[in-house]
Symmetry: D2
Subunit: 382 residues, 4 copies
């Protein structure tokens, strides 16, 4: 007889993120011993045939084609949002009003203004909420957080992060429509700023605290593309590349950059933090490694250590296999569900909450504003 | 309505390997579109309370404490063996006689003699069979196989493989009993030769063909250890380290080495193959990368390419996420199940079959024999 | 009988840079077959005993304690300046007026204004001149230049460079005086901007053309230090860290950063350039390697190539050893002398000339100005 | 007035090794403060025109065409042998008899028998002597030696070394004659065994002590080649590849391999030593780095450290530049001269002496013998 509480999950969306979320809910109970057991209760998407097939393949108990129905179903405890960005706010606010817990794919809204309404809704409703900034739960990144929080790095001087991709270099790539909505600012909110820099900023503020001000530039290298659906050649509305300088509140300096035009990089999210006593670096392309430099090591033998984050005493890793055997990308989502469920039972909500997600949106708003004004801009609340 | 055929799986064992196998059967249908859908029908282990808890956690429909009962159950299609090596033969032979498909954790038996009886049983029964040499299904290794088979490497001159660990260096580590049966030759058959070299040999023969002869050395660095259960100090029966030189049938030379005394390496399985036109190298610690040197590249720009095996056109990868996002260790087992199920439907059995597993055991037998004789030994059937 | 022309060299300075220059003049003739043979005619420094000892150790034919005397000596063909930055202009201008060829350690002057006077002097005198931006002559960097110039990269989207050090983190490090004049802005001109970023900018403009505008930030982390000579605690006048965003004239975006507070990095000058078809990356800590990504490689096997720049068909390398055997830092200076001498004989002056050095100073001036104004600043002549 | 003693050097040979030796003698005094100052007194080679040109280019004071004359010249203190292997013994023995110090390019002789006569000659004459196993003087390798000697590694379990090249893969490469005498066993003694494995063995015994026994295999992949001079197709007399297993006297196990058929490797000499508490690894392709794993590091942060051997407290490095700036291949020879000269003044001869070189030849002899006998062979004196 199981003593676990069932948590019925309804997920809106079955694309790339719909799959990572569903997998996370489906896998967590085998690997983590938690008081809650999530159940894939329902999946929702507009195409009836497709959603039925997906539901069967993934073992969902039911499916819907209208998210409003899903939100109203009394047998759903948690609404998980895995749809394009322009629908996040409406669904999240409705779900909160219906008293459901809400998890939302990042970025929270298309702007800080939109995100602020989402925060207000979940906080008014008093429902548990979280944003899927999954990279916090890469064990190597979590270990970096532990090290920073321990104070071992000493005073922080520098932070730098990049997220480099190369998948939109071809002029023949169309924009808009299913699978390519990230190239349409009316749906996505922005280009790489909200898509890629948002990840970098979330991790950065988690590790290194608030950002005070920014000086940014953005660029749209290819200014016209055919639309996937209409075939019409239209102006490109998004930023293809975005970079900014920043001051953190703790006095450290930062450089951030994201682009989809860095030939040779698929999803190269790298971060580095330089402290007085210790520096850390990480790279999504080898996510199971943390680079550590400890100035306390004896002089002759100081060097960057390549730590293979696969031991039982590394964050999350005792739940998986044995030392030397790496996990991958999808596990970060499983870890996030595990922490969310633990937060439910301890009453100490797991981060990043919607409010944390809003803080990132304040930075991306400032970045986009600075790129237009060509001056330093302060971050709201920063 | 699903058109998939159900394949009822009964797994014996719930340790490290029991978990990797169960996860593979449980995950395959969400990511691969196959005619068969495996179901975790039953798990079997001796401790009734533990096996019940494991069955609930993993969603098995039932559980058993006697593998003989499991083997006789008419509702089981496939027996999967994830127990210590000394039980492989008995279970596999009984399962085959009962007409079940059989999958068996590696190595097949504790010796070629034992393995030969297992081969005879499954071939007499005409049941599908496979050995879990999972590293063939690392996408980077599979890609290496495709490249070798394409002939692009040209004549092969060299092959080298190592499997280095460091977990038994402490004298205080006991031997025998649950979790430490790998240190007991009566259970395991041998030490690192059957545990680690067997992996290296299986991949090597898959990539580079049969091995003709070997010259080997083995060593037991710590010759006495306390027994986990009895507390008695007893001689260590296994080889702690094992290395050998070999000639492949194709005329190439090889060096192989495995040890549990290589400080700093957790599970460093590396392989390299040098051909006339192209060389390839791979490393389990970064399993999502293949190193490729193509002598056909223009002279000034020749260099080892670090290929991040995460694209849709890489083996197995279209079933997972998007370029740049890596998978991990456990996925190799999922791939193996996928290939096994596809083999069932096409009638072209997926390798390595029991017969392939036996070929590896012929090599490990020759290695152990050469280490004793201090001469070159021919490989049976090699 | 040698047919080579003798080139008598007088070097001012015998510190770190004095040694690299002297070694370059002393070594070039053994490894390069050139029409000129430089001779270490005289070294000049203020301390008579030290300079005599240095002259003997290095085989100089004579020594001086007053650079004005050296400049006037009729037996000197070329004045090489290896002194702190505040003396560059005066010596160079005097040397030019005396009709000597002039080579000057970088940065040219302490500001573009100062450098412009130096340019005017050498151009008025019509004497050969060069600035020691030695990193252009790392064979891997030179190869990058060849690749960019060949057009193979296609349209350039991004350039990024960093020069990270960690040697001034300790508060106990004093400032000023011999060996530490780089911490005194009145001598050095600026901190890392002129010292480290200048290198990055020189290479960047050589590879990728002119820089249009910049947005920068600088920081002085430790604001007071004891003076080496007086012992007095004084404000720190230099920038400890400096970073900027930039637009190149060709439309590409750039990020630049330099610091002496990046724990773990000794002299990590890295650069990367992303083109439509090819990307290149290089790292001073492994200066004998060039990273190359060629999108023209077949899809499955695309990866960053680590090219070991030690083959006879790599720039400069046929003059050294055999493939696989690396050269080091000092060789970049030897290459620069070789190119300078070849320029003398062909009449096609080797770069970077003083005028090229001035272009870099225009950028560093704009960087320092932007850091003060907190806005984008155009680069003079950019 | 210099107080240094002049050491007049006569070098036989001006090929690849002649250049590295000459450069070492020519450079050492600028960078090391030693009681002796070597002078390039004479170079000797058979071709009168070539040797005259070389002498002028390198600044030799004289030249000879008959090494016997050189050996008899009273103004020569030290004979340095940089000729093909078949001439080492005769020249060295004559030089010793003439009372000259002798330095000899490795391997000492073509066989242990030949080397033993050379040892006898220098010991009978009581002249200083040394073999150019230059890789001991790579600062990273020297640091490894210091670490091993300190006992910090604890009990040694494993040693492994490889020297991989790919320059003889083409069937069209001729054999014999100038530049290709390494393919002619009558001149070279053997193929890769004496050329490449000898380096690996010298370093290995220096780091890890004597070798007891070996089991080896050799291969000649291309069995006939045209001769450079005669054009005749002749059998290939050398081993193209050679690998062996070994037991060290300290109980550790080893694998060694060398080949000229490992596509993609130019001169990949790698070594690794695994101790109970610490492991070390090094790679000639990045010779300025030492990989260090210290099990004493705290568990979560253990990893291989990539130590950039460019600091003032690293072996030899205070004589060069500043932290972060690497030296290269040629510097190992300069270090060797520095140590030789220091040995002259302290009376504590620098290693490896001829007697040390003989010890390596005993191992290569055993390797070649074992490859023929297909059994383990004991090393003479091992």
């Amino acid at each position: 007889m199981s003593t676990k509480k069932i948590l019925n999950v309804g997920i809106v969306g079955y694309g790339f993120m719909g799959r990572t979320h569903a997998n996370a809910f489906r896998q967590v109970s085998q690997f983590f011993d938690l008081p809650f057991r999530p159940v894939l209760k329902a999946v929702c998407a507009r195409n009836a045939a497709n959603v039925a097939a997906f539901a069967e393949q993934w073992g969902y108990q039911s499916h819907e084609t209208d998210w409003r129905k899903l939100v109203e179903r009394p047998d759903i405890d948690l609404i998980d949002i895995a749809t394009p960005n322009d629908t996040h706010a409406e669904i999240a606010i409705a779900a909160a009003k219906a008293g459901k817990m809400v998890m939302c794919e990042k970025p929270l809204g298309r702007s800080a203004e939109e995100s602020a309404r989402m925060v207000a809704a979940v906080e008014a409703a008093g429902v548990a909420n979280m944003v899927w900034y999954n990279y916090r739960r890469v064990p190597a990144v979590t270990l970096a957080k532990h090290l920073v929080d321990s104070g071992r790095l000493g005073k922080i001087f520098h932070y730098r992060a990049k997220f480099l991709q190369d998948w939109t270099i071809s002029r023949d790539l169309p924009q808009g429509g299913p699978g390519l909505w990230r190239l349409d600012a009316s749906v996505a909110g922005s280009g790489v700023t909200g898509d890629l820099l948002a990840h970098c900023i979330d991790t950065a503020m988690w590790l290194n605290g608030g950002i005070k001000d920014v000086s940014a530039m953005t660029e749209t290298f290819i200014t016209e593309r055919q639309h996937t659906l209409t075939g019409a050649v239209q102006p490109v509305s998004i930023d293809d590349a975005s970079a900014f300088l920043a001051h953190f509140q703790n006095g450290s300096l930062a450089t951030f950059e994201a682009t989809r035009y860095a030939r040779g990089h698929k999803a190269l999210y790298t971060l580095e933090i330089n402290g007085e006593h210790m520096s850390l670096a990480w790279d999504l392309h080898d996510l199971h490694r943390l680079q550590v430099f400890d100035h306390g090591d004896e002089g002759q033998l100081r060097g960057w250590r390549s730590v293979h984050i696969t031991d039982g005493d590394h964050p999350y890793m005792k739940h998986w296999w044995v030392p030397g055997l790496q996990i991958g990308y999808e596990h970060t989502f499983i870890h996030q569900v595990a922490d969310f469920l633990e937060g439910l039972s301890t009453g100490k909500p797991a981060a990043p909450t919607f409010r944390d997600g809003l803080a990132t949106d304040h930075v991306t708003d400032a970045v986009l504003k600075s790129a237009r004004s060509r001056r330093w801009e302060n971050v709201a609340g920063g």
